[in-house]
Subunit: 358 residues, 4 copies
Amino acid sequence: MAGNTFGKVFTLTSFGESHGAGIGGIIDGCPPGIALDMDFIQSELDRRRPGQSKLTTQRKEPDRVEFLSGIFEGQTTGTPIGFVVWNTNQKPKDYRHLKEAYRPSHADYTYDKKYGVRDYRGGGRSSARETVARVVAGALAKLLLKQVGVTVNAWVSAVGNITMQRHWEELDLNERENNLVRCPDPEAAAEMEAAITAIRKQGDTLGGVISAAVTGVPVGWGEPVFDKLHADLGKAMLSINAVKGFEYGSGFLGATLRGTEHNDTFVRKEGDIATLTNHSGGIQGGISNGENITFKVAFKPVATVMQAQETVNSDAQKVTLEGKGRHDPCVVPRAVPIVEAMAAITLADHYLRQKMYH
Amino acid sequence: MAGNTFGKVFTLTSFGESHGAGIGGIIDGCPPGIALDMDFIQSELDRRRPGQSKLTTQRKEPDRVEFLSGIFEGQTTGTPIGFVVWNTNQKPKDYRHLKEAYRPSHADYTYDKKYGVRDYRGGGRSSARETVARVVAGALAKLLLKQVGVTVNAWVSAVGNITMQRHWEELDLNERENNLVRCPDPEAAAEMEAAITAIRKQGDTLGGVISAAVTGVPVGWGEPVFDKLHADLGKAMLSINAVKGFEYGSGFLGATLRGTEHNDTFVRKEGDIATLTNHSGGIQGGISNGENITFKVAFKPVATVMQAQETVNSDAQKVTLEGKGRHDPCVVPRAVPIVEAMAAITLADHYLRQKMYH
Amino acid sequence: MAGNTFGKVFTLTSFGESHGAGIGGIIDGCPPGIALDMDFIQSELDRRRPGQSKLTTQRKEPDRVEFLSGIFEGQTTGTPIGFVVWNTNQKPKDYRHLKEAYRPSHADYTYDKKYGVRDYRGGGRSSARETVARVVAGALAKLLLKQVGVTVNAWVSAVGNITMQRHWEELDLNERENNLVRCPDPEAAAEMEAAITAIRKQGDTLGGVISAAVTGVPVGWGEPVFDKLHADLGKAMLSINAVKGFEYGSGFLGATLRGTEHNDTFVRKEGDIATLTNHSGGIQGGISNGENITFKVAFKPVATVMQAQETVNSDAQKVTLEGKGRHDPCVVPRAVPIVEAMAAITLADHYLRQKMYH
Amino acid sequence: MAGNTFGKVFTLTSFGESHGAGIGGIIDGCPPGIALDMDFIQSELDRRRPGQSKLTTQRKEPDRVEFLSGIFEGQTTGTPIGFVVWNTNQKPKDYRHLKEAYRPSHADYTYDKKYGVRDYRGGGRSSARETVARVVAGALAKLLLKQVGVTVNAWVSAVGNITMQRHWEELDLNERENNLVRCPDPEAAAEMEAAITAIRKQGDTLGGVISAAVTGVPVGWGEPVFDKLHADLGKAMLSINAVKGFEYGSGFLGATLRGTEHNDTFVRKEGDIATLTNHSGGIQGGISNGENITFKVAFKPVATVMQAQETVNSDAQKVTLEGKGRHDPCVVPRAVPIVEAMAAITLADHYLRQKMYH
């Protein structure tokens, strides 16, 4: 009800503020018998970690997860999995100047008005550091999905005005981990890196788009009429910090097509039913149809710029905010594992939900 | 869990198939003392009704709602409101040819595989006729929101490639009800009408975009980190039939802007705090900031075309489907009240949720 | 949230007031492919119906359920099952005198204060007539449970001070339907009938106890730590009108025993594991252990007596309430199918929840 | 869905096993601005702690709670409150003999069958040590309820066959903290202590009954028809380890009374409405009526006895289990704060839920 739980069967309830003791959560509904691959979980956390390169913020946090329950002799037990990632590198003094000033396009003002009490250090609960809990739960979800042959991959497909033009199926998606922007097309990646470097020098920031593809989902996941698979995926993505839009399959472009162009013809394929095209993005009527599930997520430019900005304080008086601290000039490279995590949690949830009534 | 309930405090649980006895639902959590304006409720149903014009399907359904409970002497009592809109005009024989063939880009195939049993008449549960329940609940939500000064307006802003260029704040939104496409810009409306008429003659269909603006929401609605106001609005919209994408505020375009362009400067305005621009779409950190809430919803072209289409049947054998029956060539004009309804339900829910802990 | 939904996977959302249009609900999460045995469903409604005999109220209501959705060609489809039982025999004039007076030990006063608006006719939403929706959903749940070999039986084990002394396993439970009090022990039944007849002549009422046994539940149903099987059964029972207490297995008597007396020794039985005794009532640690699940439910005496009673009106002024109308002198015989229904719904829910783990 | 969350607005999601890293949870939906009285919270934990006396188990655990989030400068912020109580005194070797043997009337067998994987050390998740999380959340709930004048008190009213005869309103409830059994009647307390000491010497155990009274609840809390206040209280109590029964107001005894005896006459009292008697236990129609809320909870005798017991292992082979380790001979004294905690959580939840209507 207070909004800190995601999912209905496979659920994550998260807690934690940027500069509190730590970020953590409880994963409930994870089936027993999943082997805990700690190397994999750590590698997911590493993908999200700041300080990976000059393109991202320079904070050096270890971000190691400590599991507190729900695991015995290396396996999940079916009981709730409590975990925490300790905050080790907080510098609360960096944020004292924010106690009074409302940073433009941040959540300072709305949190203050909503709750009346606010942990202003580093954005508190509204900080993207909260997503570390999602990455932990997403790693568990991926391990669960792996058992049924489902893979979730996301990548950066646009930074500012630079858009990757090649189709993802022509590319090696693993290639995205070989560059700092997490774009699988090396040429587009180079351009994106240059753009981020340039904007950083200007003390400004850029937005971008993350694309994702989920493979291996069988026909039948999704719970219409409200918990359609893409509706839950959309909510999952829109709950990530800085996200402004979500589309799946043909998306907004699909709105400009004709029905005869857009319809995905059913055909027989290896004895089974498949579609010739995939404008549906792998989901029809809110239920997976066995094709690849594809979607895109738009991220706004990072709100913290390294320039002076006019704003007001809590007394509605004009103040000038100087840009300082350690911040990403573009959030999308680090958001790739977060998008994957939220997609994996959503799919794990629907995988288990589908089991319920069959 | 099975996906037919929306909302957490103000909730709609819907039931009904296209060609069953009726479409209905239960609204639970509606506060007591709301005067039931039946004329208003009927007018909302009329806006959604097919057969309004040559642009929409020619079925003539009365679509009158019968309230079964939760109302006494013209007011809500705080107990659950059961209601039904009877199906009076079903022609099941029209659909017998669909029993075996899977219509392209419809939910026939996925429902069949998911449930094993399927009411194939008119799409059954997957039919957009289900949205009549949403419009009833949305009308109640609007009556509730009216008490706190909140108004929800949606309109058609694009049909196929024709996009309304003028900003909604320059226009009289009421004007949208004076044309068949529900676009408040009469010139754009005329172009859109022409495009729909033309596509209809070709036996083809068009998609489009609906834009919406919610005014009067105070600071503080929305429940981060997962039930962010825009995340719940996004899920609400994506749960509507034929929707392919959702964006709020600057949306996908925002992903191409710089931080210094995108940030909404806080200013003092009439003693209170406001923003100079509204790229945030009235929501920051998942919580309303007092500005207008704006979002857009992309609809794919209607999947039922009046042309022969190749497809397969449940045995994966090739069949040809002839286009027939009564169908809209473009769904967006009739979807306007549905978008408004789902937005109103979402906002009513968050209005009540916000009361809980203050 | 507003309290009109029971269950998490197999759910009933109910609506309706005593003298409104009807009582109904939506069953969501019922698996597809359950054959709808209408004779069975009607027989369950008949068991709950008033006017069965001189022991119960003389209202003659047909109580036929109309299914509005979720069923196609005689089978459930997996989509929500809307239904209504029309109220056909309301006499609102009987209740006009209650508009102002708060009946002792009824919900008139609390509803008035909670909601501010109240449908006072026949108790409105607080009337036990609401349980007709539970019986319909319970009948569906029984049909589902039957597929996995689970049977739910309840019976009257006490009326006022008269308690059935014989153990249920020595008796033929079907025998309970052969007498008016639904007690499977004919001798106890005769005494109970005499007691009810006597109290009725005095214009007074009696309470009683219903016992229940669920057979065929395999090991593993129940979701600790909060949704323990007996905790959900307890809530289900306590949500029934007039219920004052719930106990399972050894219950309150168990609190007086020693550990060595109370412990159920595990033994090997037909190659499997069983217990020698069943003080656990078939549930250990909140999870079914394969033994019979047994529990008891205490009902208070009916609050409406055929005698004059002092009370107050909404202005806190003293008024005298004359007993009139048609009311049961003892509710337990008619409550037997309601207890069974709520048990069946709870078990159906946990049956489906358990599937998550496999 | 997996059963580890309690409440709908004020919620506790708990995690942790007896011999894992710790027991903890997340409290979500706690309003902002509650001052964190750490001394009070610690005193609640101390009341639950084992090793308080010769009557309870000799484990010496510090049981200090560490709050990880949701608190800033000594106040709740409205964001989720993560917390952990570290396990510091585990001796896993004590439990190695339980790996194979199923302890009678414990959850070993049912957990093993349900999940397939089991942390057998000290009962794992099924251990009453889990209730430490409830006591932390209950302390927060009490602090919230205190703001609106609501007090929750529980006490031991029976141990084995010894029942406190005096009415709680004649006694000073604080007196219960002055004796080891937490009975407010010193004479009954002395008898109970003697009984526990005696049974302990025999290597056997006793059950008992805890009574509770909640004062200060205004008219209007509770959400019929399913989330009746007493139904949620009942579920809360039944979810506590070793509980076998729950009754409120007149309870099972009420089932033996006549309507004219049982009805609570409404009267005018200090300008307001009150009842002369309180068989209703402060709740009518599932909604608080302004009188004291009273209920009783039955606990079975502790299953771990210090005597040899026959049982089977996971291969269904007969084994003998020797009694050893540190265990309470009677659980009710330590369960008093747990009963209070669960009552406080339930009431805090319904307090916030009731706000929806105003």
